[in-house]
């Protein structure tokens, strides 16, 4: 398992292709916060997102913030939510908007493996619940769109040393979640035989 540092947004897909399931990654640059209602608006209600998502790193989040003024927010506590609820948006994010990385906790089910391989995307696993640490790695909230969906807006954060993340699903058809689940289900059969 290798360790990498990647700066987002990326322009060269090689930055994604070098990552393998299980690798450790630290992220620099800019990341975009997105959540259930944000993606429902984009894909189910057909509203174009007012931010460029090309080469982007998306974070499944709904941050805790304090409003400072019009469109200006200060971070209070920013952490990451369960990704599986939002798996069906993966294909569209990659094919229509050029998103390269989705980061969340708990993993994506197997239906994400094929589109991520085809569209050269990765899924990064963050440590769920570790929001106090995550908040220190977010330097600034630079932009907010769709404030009426608070806290499920579209957020642009500048980050420093964001992680450590684990590559959960890579762009080569590898998924740590599928492997762990396959092994666990085999083990269950063994356990059931003993009960």
């Amino acid at each position: 398992m290798a360790a990498h540092e990647v700066t987002f947004p990326i322009t060269d897909p090689a930055e994604i292709l070098k990552l393998r399931a299980g690798d450790e990654v630290i992220v620099q640059g800019h990341i975009i916060g997105i959540r259930d209602r944000t993606q429902i608006r984009i894909f189910d209600q057909g509203v174009e997102p007012p931010m460029d998502l090309t080469g982007a790193f998306l974070l499944h989040t709904a941050p805790g913030v304090r409003k400072l003024g019009p469109g200006r927010y200060e971070k209070i506590c920013i952490g990451t939510t369960t990704s599986a609820r939002m798996v069906r948006f993966t294909e569209g994010l990659g094919s229509q908007y050029g998103v390269r990385a989705i980061c969340g906790k708990g993993g994506f089910p197997d239906e994400a493996i094929e589109p991520m391989q085809r569209l050269q995307m990765v899924y990064f696993a963050i440590v769920g619940g570790a929001a106090a640490l995550e908040t220190t790695q977010i330097e600034e909230i630079e932009e907010v769109a769709w404030e009426e969906l608070m806290p499920e807006c579209l957020w642009k954060f500048r980050v420093k040393d964001f992680g450590p993340l684990t590559v959960g699903i890579d762009a080569h058809g590898g998924s740590l979640y599928r492997d762990v689940q396959d092994r666990a289900h085999k083990k269950l059969e063994e356990i059931y035989a003993r009960l």
Partner: protein, 298 residues
């Protein structure tokens, strides 16, 4: 309300506001110990990465005086009301609601509560039938104990109920717990506490599972037969290899807590309620004279 009741109402409100924030910022010592112990025995690289990050996070929360997890949850309170406590439960409920709202606005805390159909956010973490309060009434006593257990949605979404039949026996119960936790994978932020409720009725089994997660790690069910089931389930779950955050490893759960009730001869309900590693709980004891003592577990 009498002057005494008005003052007590304000006291309970203050206590609720304090408990909600305290619970969110400061992880109980039993959890810290269990997480450190988990890091001591985890052999996988990804599992170690996760556990070390969790331990680092608990310390950062303390240093930065920040919340451990951004999910401020649904505010859930357990109240034990003494027979001679002068504030009626209706007023206690109102005070808990006020306190939850105040903490949310003053800190500020993220508001999670939405209308269940329109999904519109209701505002300050209160709403119709929110917060959720469970009641217990104690004879020959004049005090009030309030325990705040804010529960995040990542783990609450991993709740499962099965109406096993009597012929499924204890094996059916074990299989259901195992398949539920393996199926949940990394979603509920493992390693955490698995709450299991067995017996009673469908709703009561889930209530018991929820009560079970509020127990400190290291405690056992007083019934030796049930305690044995807790130990066995913990060992079996840690054999599955799901690991920290579902990325593979030795430590899938920190603890399994089972609460039981007798049941109907044709029922065999089993409920599973997962508690993530950030198992937050805080308690207050309110005395008749309005003095408040804060303790982890009242």
């Amino acid at each position: 309300m009498s002057i005494v009741a008005t003052d007590l109402s304000r006291t309970v409100e203050d206590a609720a506001a304090h408990l909600y924030v305290w619970a969110l910022k400061d992880i109980p010592q039993d959890l810290r110990d269990a997480l450190a112990d988990a890091a001591g025995r985890e052999t996988s690289v990804t599992g170690q990465r996760v556990l070390q990050t969790i331990l680092r996070n608990v310390n950062v929360a303390e240093e930065e005086k920040n919340l451990v997890c951004q999910d401020t949850g649904l505010a859930v309170y357990y109240c034990s009301v003494g027979e001679h406590f002068p504030l009626h439960p209706a007023r206690i409920y109102a005070a808990l609601k006020e306190g939850t709202e105040r903490a949310t606005v003053e800190h500020p805390l993220r508001s999670n509560t939405v209308h269940t159909l329109t999904r519109e956010n209701t505002g300050p973490n209160v709403g119709f039938r929110i917060p959720i309060v469970h009641w217990d009434f104690v004879p020959d006593w004049d005090g009030l104990d309030v325990k705040c257990v804010p529960k995040g949605s990542g783990s609450e979404n991993m709740s499962f109920l099965k109406m096993c039949v009597p012929a499924d026996g204890v094996t059916g119960i074990k299989k259901f717990v195992l398949e539920s936790i393996v199926g949940a994978g990394g979603k509920p932020c493992p390693p955490g506490i698995v709450g299991v409720g067995i017996g009673g009725s469908a709703d009561y089994a889930m209530h018991l599972a929820k009560e079970a997660i509020a127990r400190p790690v290291g405690t056992s069910n007083p019934d030796p037969l049930v305690a044995q089931l807790e130990d066995e389930l913990k060992d079996l779950l840690n054999e599955t290899g799901v690991g920290p955050m579902g990325l593979g490893g030795d430590v899938t759960v920190l603890s399994v807590h089972v609460e039981n009730a007798d049941t109907h001869m044709t029922l065999n309900p089993v409920a599973v309620n997962y508690q993530c590693w950030a198992a937050r709980r805080a308690s207050a004891h309110v005395a008749l004279d309005g003095s408040v003592t804060y303790e982890r577990d009242a």
